[in-house]
Amino acid sequence: MKSLLEAQNVTRIFDSGLLSKGHTVAVDGVSLMINEDKPSITTIAGESGSGKTTLARLLLGMIQPTSGSILYRGQSLTAMDRRARKKFRREVQAIFQDPYEAYNPIYKVDQTLTTPVRKFGLARSREEAQQRITDSLRMAGLRPEETLGRYPHQLSGGQRQRIMVARALLLNPRVILADEPVSMVDASLRATILESLVKVKRELGISLIYITHDLTTAYQASQNIYILYRGCVAEMGSVEKVIKNPKHPYTRLLVSSVPLPDPDIRWGREGEIEAKASAPSAPVKEGGGCKFSNRCPYVMAECRQAPPPLFLTDDDRAVACYLYKAGAPVSGRDMAKSLARD
């Protein structure tokens, strides 16, 4: 197994202001791995404040970690020369949440497609460029004659988002990071766009990192999932186990709060969890134990002492919770590697 894209125990701290003492730990010791030999879809799930957006930017090389490293093909991003950097830039692409903001309003949408072709030298002639562009538009489920030559405001949100998918595909990347790709798109189009992403993995062998707060689509689309809570990994493993049989109290809270579109399965199935895990009183101080301890209905003394390591509960799932300390403790990096391998 060869590591394609990897986060090794990355932490990212943001300082607020020049002189103030306050700082936010957006990402706290997270490890993740994507296997080069096996295309997969991995979900990074969490709510706002979980650090998933920061982790995405770290993986894309747009910001640097405060500690730990991001590796591409085994090489740290900070140690790359220009050529390696350019290769990384080409092979790791992204699709963002907002199909409106992703476009510069003064240009036609063609510009988002011709720019990467030009900058990465993907075509030797105009005809070849044209062909590549129309091919990737079709792959994304669009008709070139209906989309090219238009300004962003002349197209619908769904079309704009699909053009972004086409843009990501143009470069023939190895990894695509999709940051909430369908949350701002109409419900009827979500399934279509998600389907084209899954198709991309299946037919083109491109691995996807799907970042979302929607556990249901995460279940449908991906194989592995990392549940983030305030910068830490709360639970990670196969999507089948984590979502159908969640173990970490936070995961259980999340899963039980998802409004299922079935009037017969209403909220209130997990009475205990919701009743006690209401809004936190005060945030847990640094080094003051598990970050969920001030909301957790199962909190014990050791939870407040030190943050729990990941405990292996199944061979394809680990939980960062002292409730499962009977399992073997495993490092984030080892678990990430093991998940990527299977």
Binding site: E47, D186, T192, P261, E274, A277
Partner: protein, 326 residues
Amino acid sequence: MDRNGCVLDVRDLRVSYHTAAGPVRAVNGVSFFLRPGERLGLVGESGSGKTTTALSLMRLLQESAVIEGGEVLLDGVDLLRLSEEQMRLARFADISLIPQGAMNSLNPMMKVGEQLRDTIRAHQHEGNSKVAIDARILEVLQSVELLASVMDSYPHELSGGMKQRVCIAMAILLNPKVIIADEPTSALDVVVQRQVMETLRRVQEALDASVILVGHDMGLMAQFVDRVGVMYGGKLAEVGPVRGIFKDPLHPYTQMLIKSLPNLDMKEDFRGIPGLTPSLLTPPSGCMFHPRCPHAMPRCSVDVPVLAEVKPDRWVSCHLYDGGQA
């Protein structure tokens, strides 16, 4: 099931926006009714007309929008025919709104308590004493599970969920009969969303008020409402009890919408609805959905279907169900 005894009766509501490119029929003949104590969901995608409908009930549309026809009967009184002043008094007292992005519509320069007092004071004919006003506010804050200390806070000092609960409090201060909630939880996390929705449900049941929940999240509808109205292209495609809509949808759009919903039993099985949402500027002829409908008949591109009760309490506007009728 008849309309008698309903608290809100909307009849043939028509609203258009006048844009530089021409008139846009955002709400094109919408009729529905709301029973006392009932929770109705108005669901649809962008451009379906659901938010315009909700705002029209409160007569809070922007200047470019014109209510071109119809009646909105609240306990028999047509809100559309009231004077500006009468409507102003009716808002929040008889029918109130939790607007989209409500958390951001709280005045950042005023303490929460002051804003709540303002709501009461704007509607009182006889001057109620400050003591009585504050007592009412505290009562309401308690019902939404907020501490009294919230009164002295500024909006930015509260979390998203707390701000949303302040907006719920504001909406129920004067015991309205109808509460309209326009995507009240769209900016909230799934855990907080659930807490806020459960608060809303508790509060509404205690008041015995009716709620119209406007949104696009079918999951929320399934969890919260009693009846669902599905909107498409400015019209109601289908209205019915929530179980019926989800388990036995009648309109082809509703059927495809339900099928496209993500659920935990369909791994890698995505079923979207092909095609694009209709342009309201140049709408399709006949039925708005016919270009995307798998059951479209020749008639569908000519005749506009009418919302009719095809089964008890099941209303559909589709030619598949009006066999032979004019």
